[in-house]
Amino acid sequence: MTRINSPDELEALRNRIVSERNPDTPCITVCAGTGCLASGARDVVAAFNHEIEAQGLQVGLSFRSTGCHGFCEKGPIVVIDPEEICYLQVTADDVPEIIEKTIMGNEIIERLLYVDRNTGEKAVHESDIPFYKYQKRMVFGANRRIDPKSFEDYLAIGGCRALTKSLFEMTPDEVISEVKEANLRGRGGGGFPAGKKWEIARKAPGDSKYVIVNCDEGDPGAYMDRSLMEGNPYGVLEGLTIGAFAIGANEGYVYIRQEYPLALENLTAAIEDSEKRGFLGKDILGSGFDFQVKVHRGAGAFVCGEETALIISLEGEVGEPKPRPPYPAVKGLWGKPTNINNVETWANIPLIINGGAAAFAAIGTEGSKGTKIFSLVGKIANTGLVEVPMGISLRDVIYKIGGGIPGGKAFRAVQTGGPSGGCIPEERLDLEVDFDELTKAGSMMGSGGMIVMDEETCMVDVARYFIDFLTDESCGKCVPCREGLRQMHRILTNITEGKGKESDIEILEELAETAQEASLCALGKTAPNPFLSTFRYFKSEYEAHINEGRCPALSCKRLVSYYIEPEKCKACLICLKECPAGAIDGAKKTIHIIDQEKCDACGICFEVCPSRFEAVMRISGAPVPPPIPEEQRTVIRKSKRQ
């Protein structure tokens, strides 16, 4: 591997790589992101490698394992270019058939195609699948086209053009004004305009400055930064290097979660490779600009995603937030001006430089430009990562891309913005997704978590769950967050256990105001959102819990009783055998009854009762009928002939 010393050398290399690749040659791509690896992609990759070698197909066929494609629900995913034939839930056993039929015989394997669960229609090409069709994959799309460990792949799709353009054709101020004009807002949660932040850091006095990638993604269910870092580390590094040049930093850090081993591996490999090739280190591409990147592994504290806590943690101290101002852009790492952005923000930079601010700003809404990657999870048919233009409606994301709610259940709410985001109900689903609209709806963009909940989700319990998470992750430095969340959690737990009092709501509101207004950092200031948004939209559920001891979603264990309807019970013994508490009494031909004293309300009897009987019912807020008298418990079976 030789060092590249000028833009001309880079372009010569790129031309050579591209000319050696025939765009008509079939290329098999296997998604080997974390989701697909979990569902068996490693075996699929091994099977392809084996088959290709065994059949001597190395010439005239290329094969690539890539980062996450996003459609995690249906992994492992195999895409065959140039036609973009998309096979889902592929196993190693399917591989010889794919080679034989699709590669050698130009034949589609019907059973591996996407089937629309409503219409039954099949889709052959990736772009015909509704999950992909309504997305706009400007940032995330590169994942599918490159092997994350191959610099050649990155160059082949136009990588490093933005870097050479910045270093050789633009001044740092021009780069900053491009990012400012694009109005790129921080994708990590705050939504602060990135260009403005860069400008402050550039203008701040100081001879040494730093840039940081925040890859301490900690929201439950969110993995967009992870997948970008795993799938396209060169893209993130290119954005970071451009930022360093614009701000005047010669050192950068990537703060990455210890729990992301593949992201760490691919990033570290990309840094080492870039150093050898002259894309990082001294005199990058002969431009005279020096920039080196170090990796710091985070130990798993959620609060370290907060920028001041992250910086302190990077310095080796306990990760607790510091009061702002001073902002890191003026006084950050080691007291020097520091610009910190999250992974997705950095990954947007090459796009803005390549395509220009105007093209970027043409996408999105008045206040939020470009696209946003969301992790769409929960009670949704198509779990996965989706990249959509700002301004798309929540309804389109959930129904067109996400495929709606599975199991014939009704939609209840969508929780956006991570644990301290808010829950948005059905009547607000047409809101245009952007930073400001989500905030107005009592939620937030956050880093892009989107958890869909169905009718069986209790909204009070959801509030309790997220407050529990935040109580656990609070650093404990300031009183409104540490003590306020402790008490909020206690009160919410009481409500879900039927011990709520009417005065609880007022106290929760006081605690919420205190945390919002007086907490030290954004974790505490936003922490009451799970309560506030659920109370705003689902007040009646709180009232039912407190006043009637009833959980409308039939979900809160302490407020739900199980009862076997005597006229429906066929004395099949199934629930009796499965009950872990031994609370069910009965025998063959003897109608089963639940001993309410022994019952743990685990719900197993409800789940195992055959659907043709549906004899177990859930009761909340009403007394359980008394068990039927012993003499009436014999099941009289109708004769088969009748």
Binding site: P325, S474, V479, P480, E483, G484, E510, S519, L520
Partner: protein, 203 residues
């Protein structure tokens, strides 16, 4: 005193460059309650009792006066209804830990805080951090520190250092707004360095 002019509770106040709002207020005789503040220590911003409403360029926000820098044309309200209401809640949260603390009880009276609003907690510690920071910043001994995080966070003496240093110092004891610190020390002392005979310690 050079040039910062600001208004606190309707009163014209002059402050020196680098002063915090809290320092500016106190220099003008306006009192703002604090628990974690100490003149010898770096500002911490943990108890949040010193919050005030600050209006700058037409925008009002709530800031912690112990860390917020004084600046020209700032308009500060130290006792708005909202500030009083939040301070009352903060005090009630702390009183759940230390209902006997004279300092807290005095403030509770000022703000009408109910000391039994919340269920009582087992630990007296209110995490002001005065002991920890005093030991680190002033004495530079590091005999006491915080362990764990969030609601599980507590102060703990490092027995190896405490055994050597603490008996002759104990300067942190009077800083503690509750009696927790002393209790924690006595516990460490008795567990880690048991005295040969009980009578020895009373001589």
């Amino acid at each position: 005193m050079s040039g910062i002019r600001m208004k606190i509770d309707g009163k014209e106040v002059q402050a020196a460059e680098g002063m915090t709002v809290l320092e500016a207020a106190r220099s003008a005789g306006i009192s703002i309650p604090t628990l974690c503040h100490h003149e010898q220590l770096a500002p911490f911003g943990g108890c949040r009792l010193c919050i005030v409403e600050a209006e700058a360029q037409g925008r009002t926000s709530i800031v912690a006066s112990c860390v917020f820098q004084a600046q020209d044309d700032l308009i500060i309200d130290t006792r708005s209804d909202k500030i009083d209401r939040i301070r009352k809640t903060i005090l009630e949260l702390l009183l759940a830990h230390a209902p006997q603390s004279p300092q807290l009880l005095e403030l509770a009276e000022d703000y009408g805080a109910d000391k039994y609003k919340f269920e009582q907690e087992a630990s007296f510690c209110i995490h002001c951090g005065l002991c920890v920071r005093y030991c680190t910043e002033v004495k530079q001994l590091n005999a006491i520190g915080f362990i764990d995080r969030g609601i599980r966070k507590e102060i703990a003496f490092l027995p190896e250092i405490a055994a050597k240093e603490c008996n002759d110092c104990k300067e942190c004891f009077p800083l503690c707004p509750t009696s927790y610190l002393q209790a924690a020390f006595v516990l460490v002392e008795s567990l880690a360095f048991p005295k040969p005979k009980l009578s020895d310690s009373h001589q």
